[in-house]
């Protein structure tokens, strides 16, 4: 039960049946024969069950250690309470009651952690795994020995409980300090990345600026030579010069190098950075990209970090799809009207008959589950921000994702 709460997994699965119908009877049967053996067996069975549930060895080890510690605490507490109070309730009832008390507390803790969404990023380290295994072994031995050697004496029980609580506290302190450390590192990494991205942008801008300077130089020279042709009335020469020199320049202007310049109109650092970096890397992959925005947009009327993550997911999907095409195209545009801002990402798709709902479904992709995860994150972000709306369409071999930001509501208040 506790395991399930920790995993925030509330749906029933067939492995739960295994837990109820295999693990529990075996453990109860063994308890009647030998307590130490039964504890050992139950630990292994639980481990197996957790592994089935999470399909992750490290995670199940850590979880099992936690559950074992909680069970032990509950077991000791109920033992002590029973002895001290001389109540005549069966041991098992009080044990379950205390367990039930632990559950909501556990749930609250897990939920708080989930909200920070940090656990998922960090994962479980080797240190934690080995620590949990150590705890399992040490406490296992400690409990068996004290129980076997000196029986269930009250003193022993209280000492054991004290050791248990102390150890748990120490571990908790270590854990939290480690998380804080990791968080700091994570922030630092994010800032570093941001600086790197900004530098890339500045570098690109400088390159453009230099090109512009060269262009201005060429332009002045061109005007001078035109002047010369006109002054001497050399129309034939002018024609020749126009076709040879001016026409090629004019066609060069439309080349893709300049297609991202509208990104400068995005008045938000996170978004500017995500648009530029994704589209720039797409361009390096040989994808034909363009970005357009008629007006400068300073206020996006929503959580721009969320919006940047959402755009990242959409653009990643677009790049993934188009980089395998011969002439892949990604077009991004921001359109702002009085009451809303629309961000459109359109990419070419290979000719297939797949309906949109299949493309959107989580986990659908030949490239593994990560892409599906991205799309469900996208849905989550859209639902979390009240004034965002998502549109997904497939029109004439183009896949279109559009996020609409309603600005009307917010302007009012």
């Amino acid at each position: 039960m506790n395991a399930k709460i920790m995993l925030s997994e509330f749906r029933l699965k067939w492995v739960d049946l295994f837990m109820v119908f295999v693990n529990v009877p075996i453990v109860i049967l063994l308890t009647n024969i030998n307590q130490a053996v039964s504890i050992l067996v139950s630990v292994f069975l639980n481990l197996f069950y957790l592994f089935l549930l999470t399909s992750n060895v490290k995670k199940s080890l850590v979880l099992e250690a936690l559950i074992y510690v909680i069970n032990l605490t509950a077991d000791h507490l109920s033992d002590i309470i029973l002895r001290l109070s001389h109540f005549n309730i069966p041991y098992i009832v009080s044990f379950i009651m205390i367990q039930a008390l632990f559950m909501p507390i556990l749930y609250l803790i897990v939920r708080n952690n989930k909200e920070s969404e940090f656990e998922n990023l960090v994962g479980i380290s080797k240190l934690e795994t080995s620590l949990s295994v150590l705890i399992l072994i040490v406490f296992g031995i400690l409990m068996t020995f004290t129980e076997i050697l000196s029986g269930n004496k009250l003193d022993n029980l209280i000492y054991n409980l004290l050791i248990l609580v102390m150890a748990s506290l120490i571990l908790l302190v270590i854990h939290f300090s480690r998380i804080k450390d990791l968080e700091k590192n994570f922030d630092l990494q994010k800032k570093e990345l941001q600086i790197k991205n900004n530098n890339r942008y500045i570098h690109e801008m400088e390159k453009h600026y230099n090109e512009l300077r060269k262009f201005r130089h060429d332009y002045q020279n061109t005007l001078l030579s035109l002047d010369e042709y006109i002054r001497t009335d050399d129309i034939q020469g002018l024609k020749k010069y126009y076709n040879a020199e001016i026409k090629p320049i004019s066609s060069k202007m439309g080349q893709e190098k300049y297609k991202l310049e509208d990104i400068s109109k995005v008045g938000n650092k996170e978004l500017k950075s995500i648009f530029f970096n994704k589209l720039y890397s797409a361009q390096l992959e040989g994808i034909n990209v363009s970005f357009e925005s008629k007006n400068e947009i300073k206020n996006f009327h929503t959580d721009t970090l969320d919006l940047a993550v959402a755009m990242g997911i959409i653009l990643d999907n677009a790049i993934e799809e188009t980089k395998e095409q011969d002439h892949g195209v990604i077009q991004v545009g921001i359109i702002d009207v009085d009451t809303e801002i629309m961000i459109i990402v359109q990419n070419s798709v290979r000719d297939n008959e797949l309906p949109v709902w299949k493309m959107k479904r989580a986990g659908f992709s030949t490239k593994g589950a990560s892409r599906g995860m991205g799309l469900s994150n996208l849905t989550e972000i859209i639902n979390r921000n009240k004034n965002l709306m998502l549109e997904t369409m497939k029109v004439n071999n183009n896949f279109l994702q559009k996020i609409t930001i309603e600005v009307g509501d917010i302007k009012d208040d």
Binding site: S251, G333, T404
Partner: protein, 246 residues
């Protein structure tokens, strides 16, 4: 009769486009007429205020020497004349493709950077415009109108598969043959808006015409694009009855 309007501030280009249009209309003997060719966007707006146009085609330059540009002009024309066809005349550097397509829903665009292609693009736009108006007249397709923010979207009823309620209150996701999008409405309201819409589940309103099959045991409904949604017991029974009556 389709009225044609041209707005371009370069006289040379204006005359060029006007001559292409006139020639094509004359040669092909089309039911079209050039009503106004001007460099001043306000002349077009004035004309529209004073006259009624039934069907119209606009060729608009983006960079106008006026306080509004071609896109602003197109927006104003659209407000007045929802069904009009708009073609933009532009250069590569002014090109805002997605804005043309999704904000103005332009019919096409003509790039000035390729002077040799202008004539072909003009005649193609005229053909396309004719074709679209004819298509609209021949088919009396039923449309469902959805308001999303500033825009009014017309969706063919036959394209609508079902509506799904979103976890966010008052937000509904409409699933179409070729995509899906969100808008603000309530399931109750939607069900009452068309007789083909039926609320088969707390969070679904289906378009009965696009229900492919109903499984009464599992209470699963398969839509015509293969997507599967759930139904309530009662909804299932009513839906089977509705399908049988059709």
């Amino acid at each position: 009769m389709i009225d044609i309007f041209v707005c371009e501030d370069n006289y040379k280009q204006l005359n060029e486009i006007v001559s292409y249009i006139n020639n094509y209309v004359l040669i092909e003997n089309l039911d079209m007429e050039l009503k106004l060719a001007t460099s001043d966007p306000y002349r077009i707006l004035n004309y529209l205020e004073k006259n009624d146009t039934e069907k119209s085609l606009y060729f608009l330059d983006i960079g106008l020497s006026s306080d509004i540009d071609g896109i602003e002009l197109a927006k104003k024309i659209r407000k007045n004349d929802f069904d009009s066809k708009i073609v933009f005349i532009t250069t590569h550097s002014e090109m805002v493709f997605l804005t043309f397509k999704y904000q103005i829903e332009a019919l096409d665009y003509i790039l000035k950077d390729f002077p040799d292609e202008i004539q072909g693009k003009v005649t193609r736009a005229i053909d396309l415009c004719n074709e679209q108006f004819q298509k609209k007249e021949s088919k009396s397709e039923e449309y469902y109108q959805i308001k999303t923010g500033d825009q009014l979207k017309s969706v063919k009823i036959s394209d609508i598969l079902f509506f799904e309620s979103s976890p966010v209150p008052h937000k509904v996701i409409v699933h179409l043959m070729n995509g899906q999008f969100e808008f603000y409405n309530t399931m109750k309201e939607i069900e009452s808006e068309n007789e083909k819409f039926f609320r088969c589940h707390k969070s679904y309103v289906v378009n009965v015409d696009n229900v492919e099959s109903i499984n009464r045991q599992t209470r699963k409904i398969t839509m015509s694009d293969g997507e599967i949604i759930f139904s309530s017991v009662l909804g299932c029974r009513t839906l089977v009855k509705m399908k049988n009556n059709n």
